[in-house]
């Protein structure tokens, strides 16, 4: 029986299919697994704590993948995913702090809470385009206010402190490297899961409803139900990422999960490439490392004081810089970094043309 299945499985794929499909992910996996071993030897003009930042890249990748499924594939805009991250972060931290639930369980519960809330607000998915964006914006604002004002639970602006570290049954993850592996293993599994998802009838259904809801319905796709499902899935990813974020930082406050975060998440998706799973990593990487790269630029021109000024003022400049980056990408590479380049090689299409223009939801 088992043998028969194995034969069947092999027969299903053309020779080379397996390699073709998994070459990229394997390279990525090797890179991620070995990174902590050699990151110390990378040096540059500015000091970068690579592991610390790579943890963040992993977390942002998780959210960005979910948001990409929702926005890039299904064409539904959300300005509320920062809020879902906040919900996940608070749910997980509060369960761990107040109820003393082990962290590996609180993370799962945080995902569940995010999914529940996404299902409660799912009627907004009947709205389209800008209206949906407005509604999710409203959701983001409401969540922020609720987190800030429910002081008996969340301690308001003061925030939660002393959030327990990540843990597995019996082991607490204390080191930076441990956290790095913890996060990236989850992120990698999510990337693979999502990649499989988009290369299936479900992924095709999402792309179909993005382009023409009427035609998708006529093909037997329950469009409203699919939108809800993918919204819930992306909320689960965001909740998970929020929980991971809380447990590696041990401190959170509502300000972290403001609208600004939702916008940065959108920038990651657009930058990395709409409808591109791997683009999410690219987007997250650029967003996390951009400040350091910008610091390095004046240094190369021998202007050390400017570098210093930059690193001191970066947080003030951040929204402006992302705004500029977003504008430049939309003008010069509207399909994003990864997608623009891969489409160029695949279909000989110029990366400077927006393939999603017609019928695009945004």
């Amino acid at each position: 029986m088992k043998f028969k299945r194995l034969v069947e499985r092999i027969a299903l794929t053309r020779p080379g299919d397996f390699l073709r499909r998994n070459l990229g992910p394997t390279v990525l996996l090797i890179f991620l697994l070995t990174f902590p071993l050699w990151e110390g030897s990378v040096s540059g003009p500015v000091h970068i704590k690579f592991l610390e930042r790579m943890r963040l890249v992993g977390i942002y990748t998780i959210v960005a993948v979910g948001l990409n499924l929702l926005l890039g594939y299904a064409g539904q805009v959300s300005l509320g995913h920062g809020a879902f991250m906040g919900i996940g972060a608070y749910a997980s931290s509060l369960l761990a702090l107040r109820a003393h639930v082990p962290v590996y369980l609180t993370i799962l519960m945080a995902m569940l809470v995010a999914v529940l809330i996404s299902l409660i607000i799912s009627p907004i998915l009947r709205l389209r385009g800008h209206y949906l964006a407005m509604a999710t914006l409203g959701f983001a604002i409401i969540s922020f206010v609720v987190l800030r004002e429910m002081t008996w639970l969340t301690k308001g602006n003061e925030g939660l402190m002393g959030i327990p570290k990540l843990s597995l049954p019996g082991v607490e993850v204390r080191t930076m490297g441990g956290e790095y592996y913890f996060i990236w293993i989850i992120a990698f599994l999510i990337l693979i899961f999502s990649r499989n998802l988009v290369n299936s009838r479900l992924g095709r259904a999402l792309k179909a409803l993005h382009h023409s809801e009427v035609a998708a319905e006529t093909m037997g796709i329950n469009t409203s139900w699919y939108k809800i499902k993918i919204f819930a899935l992306s909320a689960a990813y965001a909740g998970l990422a929020g929980a991971l974020f809380a447990h590696i930082h041990s401190f959170i406050n509502p300000g972290i999960f403001q609208l600004n975060l939702s916008i940065i998440l959108l920038v990651m998706v657009v930058l990395g490439g709409m409808a591109s799973i791997w683009g999410s990593i690219a987007g997250a990487t650029v967003v996390v490392f951009l400040p350091k790269v910008l610091e390095a630029i004046p240094y190369w021109f021998g202007n050390k004081s400017l570098t210093q000024w930059f690193s001191n003022n970066y947080s003030n400049l951040e929204p402006m810089i992302f705004g500029i980056v977003l504008i430049l990408v939309m003008i010069f590479m509207p399909s994003g970094l990864t997608r623009g380049l891969s489409d160029f090689f695949r279909y000989r299409r110029s990366p400077f043309v927006n393939p999603l223009k017609r019928g695009s939801g945004i």
Binding site: R204, V214, M219
Partner: protein
């Protein structure tokens, strides 16, 4: 109740404000036949299709499909029951390949869900291979086999119409509704289309088509239904309809024969 008829429409009415786009329309379609719906522009033909396929809901009347009243069903439920359509204005998924477009058509006939898909369980792999095979078969049928890997947007207009047809066929329909399939096609392509419609009929699929090209309608259809201002003004064989004075009047007294490829 109405098992005898494959598709039976009874007193169907659809109002837009005060205007009756479809007004008390009744007709039936026999299994395995080719029926054409004709009428001047604005006669309510496309609205009738929208009602049949569940994109819009009628104000009154009933639609019996294989003995089931499908009024109130959503479009995707009707697709599950075995009714599919093509669109007058092409509604392809432009950013997907030709093959993927047709693969979307298999959606209603497949069942893999999130876990099976995400973990690539054997059931999903089996199903995925079958989807691909079926889709390729349908592409071959309409003659687009060689274009499988192109983006749907890059096809010519005529090819896009054929792709819509292949996609609709991929849903394994019992009844297929073709909304002006010949619009924008040249004489040669129309001839191909005619053969294709026969092929579809021979596969056991009932065909209902809205068409302005009288040459095609008169030659291909077993029965013709004529609509004007949302009402049925004539029904019968192509010859009967052609000689019906009411029909001639509806077309402004012009001989039906003279109608070429309008629209």
């Amino acid at each position: 109740m109405n098992e005898t008829h494959f598709l039976k429409v009874e007193n169907l009415t659809k109002l837009f404000g005060g205007l009756a786009a479809v007004n008390d329309v009744s007709f039936s379609v026999d299994k395995g036949s080719i029926k054409a719906i004709i009428g001047p522009n604005g006669a309510g033909k496309t609205t009738l299709f929208d009602l049949l396929i569940g994109v819009q809901q009628p104000n009154s009347g009933s639609i019996w499909f294989e003995g089931k009243n499908i009024v109130g069903y959503k479009a995707h439920q009707i697709a599950d029951l075995g009714m599919s359509r093509t669109f007058q204005t092409i509604q392809l998924f432009g950013n997907m390949t030709v093959l993927e477009n047709v693969m979307v058509g298999r959606h209603a006939r497949t069942t893999s869900e999130f876990t099976q898909v995400g973990l690539r369980l054997p059931k999903f792999l089996r199903e995925e291979r079958k989807i691909k095979e079926e889709a390729l078969k349908n592409l071959e049928l309409v003659g687009l086999g060689l274009q499988a890997d192109k983006l749907a947007d890059t096809l010519s207009f005529g090819q896009q119409r054929l792709l819509e047809l292949a996609r609709a066929l991929a849903t394994s329909p019992k009844l297929i509704l073709l909304d002006e399939p010949a619009a924008g096609l040249n004489t040669y392509e129309i001839e191909e289309l005619r053969n294709l419609i026969y092929k579809i009929r021979d596969m056991g699929i009932t065909v209902l088509l809205v068409e302005h090209n009288m040459g095609l309608v008169m030659r291909v259809s077993d029965e013709v239904l004529v609509l004007d201002y949302g009402q049925v003004i004539a029904e019968g064989s192509p010859e009967q309809v052609r000689d019906d004075p009411k029909v001639i009047e509806a077309y402004l007294g012009v001989e039906v024969n003279d109608f070429g490829g309008e629209g």
